[in-house]
């Protein structure tokens, strides 16, 4: 027991470093870029022409239909054979961004479509352009509905970044693997890593509750609609 605790204490700075230098930035950046990508794809799916809609659907189909780990391997190990060599971090960032984009585009498409048509008409009736209606009227309402499903994606992403260990990124999980390789204490190190992931997702869950509370301050939306 004593031994376990001291191993945890001595390994913790290394794991924390992996989390703070790689896991957290990778999560934040790929979620941000993925969200932007997802928003773009959602707009194409909702308002695009027939060809661009088909292209967007193809993209979502490919990215959702293949394993994330395989996608990361293609980007990091596969692309060099066609002359594109990427470091581990950019390779992982691209992989996760593309993946998050595919999943969030479906969420964003659904929440934008869930805002009643009458809200568009009300916005148009006071003279708004399409862009003004989108920004001022539709998105704020869609955002509120989007928080729980997007939080799901975000929390999954934090945990999925452990896959980046397989493409040599020295993030939290890989840091644990390396210490296991010299200490031969897999149980203690992997449990420790799991606890740090748990702490990170807990922070996100708390942020989700706060955000929902903030966006929910106007009271029941549905009641106001009819």
């Amino acid at each position: 027991m004593q031994h376990w605790l001291s191993l945890m204490a001595s390994s913790f700075p290394f794991l924390l470093r992996g989390a703070l230098v790689f896991t957290v930035p990778l999560t934040l950046l790929s979620f941000t870029f993925g969200l932007l990508l997802g928003f773009g794809i959602a707009l194409v799916r909702l308002f695009g022409g027939r060809l661009s809609i088909a292209a967007a659907r193809f993209y979502v189909w490919m990215l959702r239909g293949t394993p994330l780990l395989v996608q990361l391997f293609i980007i990091f190990y596969g692309l060099p054979s066609v002359g594109i060599v990427l470091d581990a971090f950019p390779a992982a960032l691209i992989g996760f961004t593309l993946n998050v984009g595919a999943y969030t585009s479906e969420i964003i498409r659904a929440v934008i479509a869930s805002v009643p048509k009458g809200q568009w008409e009300a916005a148009y009736s006071i003279g708004m352009s399409w862009g003004q209606a989108m920004r001022r009227t539709i998105l704020p309402q869609a955002a509120r509905v989007a928080v729980p499903p997007l939080s799901n994606t975000f929390i999954s992403l934090v945990k999925d970044t452990s896959l980046a260990a397989a493409v040599t990124l020295p993030e939290l999980f890989r840091a644990a693997q390396r210490i296991v390789a010299t200490s031969y204490e897999p149980m203690i190190l992997y449990v420790e890593a799991a606890l740090i992931y748990l702490a990170l997702s807990s922070v996100l869950s708390i942020l989700q509750v706060r955000l929902e509370h903030r966006l929910g301050r106007s009271g029941g939306f549905l009641e106001a609609k009819s």
Partner: protein, 259 residues
């Protein structure tokens, strides 16, 4: 002046308006009545171009747009014309994520780019006018239907439109709540606000309309003063329709309809 010339609106194979022409003078209140599906909502929505007519010509003030089948209308021209109108919807359609005050300010700050304090002053004055100054900071979800509709009227009036369009403004309200909305609209009519309203509410139409247009099957059957249409209609069809409305009112059935 608002002028519709030979406005036709098709939805696929369905012809919702079959060449409707009308002139609406400034300062008058016009009620569009008729059976559901008769085209009154479509005619109203053609005036602020929520429905783009398939063909015909629409003039509001100095702006005119000619519509031709297969020719796409310029979005800027649509917005220029639309900005001279305000609209009140059957289901209010307040922005649920904004307070009553913010709803009324929205058109002024976002569309007309007014500074916030100027917009706030105008919005408060309008809420005062519809009797809801004390609800300025309330969320739409906490207001009664009648209150929501009064806020919606203030929102529509904020950019000083040339005409206020009302699409069944009292149909989603019970008689008591619709009374407060009728009172506000009657007040506006007395002040000379130009209004066009599609309605089933005989009380509303007879109380405030100067002119009545009776539409059926996408065509104008009869036009006249409110008194003429309600008491001495020329057409048998109009007479029958008016009598069904009066009967409904006598037995106390609300004339609500989602058309």
């Amino acid at each position: 002046m608002i002028k519709l010339t030979n406005i036709e609106k098709r939805f696929g194979a369905l012809v919702a308006l079959k060449g409707v022409s009308a002139v609406i003078a400034e300062g008058t209140v016009t009620a569009l009545i008729g059976p559901s599906g008769g085209g009154k909502s479509t005619m109203l929505r053609s005036i602020n171009l929520l429905e783009i007519p398939t063909s015909g010509e629409l003039t509001i003030g100095e702006e005119t747009i000619v519509f031709q089948s297969g020719v796409k209308v310029d979005g800027k021209a649509v917005r220029r014309l639309r900005r001279q109108t305000g609209m009140v919807f059957q289901n209010f359609q307040l922005f649920p994520h904004q307070t009553a005050l913010a709803n009324v300010m929205e058109g002024l700050t976002t569309v007309l780019k007014w500074p916030a304090d100027k917009a706030r002053a105008r919005a408060l004055a309008l809420l005062e006018k519809v009797g809801l100054a004390h609800k300025a900071e309330a969320w739409p979800a906490t207001l009664s239907g009648g209150q929501q509709q009064r806020v919606a009227i203030a929102r529509a009036l904020a950019p000083s439109p040339r005409v206020l369009l009302c699409d069944e403004p009292t149909s989603a309200l019970d008689p008591e709540l619709s009374g407060e909305v009728v009172d506000v609209l009657a007040q506006l009519a007395r002040e000379g606000t130009t209004m066009v309203m599609a309605t089933h509410d005989l009380r509303l139409a007879s109380k405030i309309a100067d002119r009545v247009i009776f539409l059926e099957a996408g065509m104008i059957v009869e036009t006249g003063t409110a008194r003429e249409i309600f008491t001495t209609p020329r057409h048998e069809r109009t007479r029958r329709f008016i009598s069904t409305l009066t009967q409904r009112d006598e037995v106390g059935v609300d004339g609500g309809d989602a058309s």
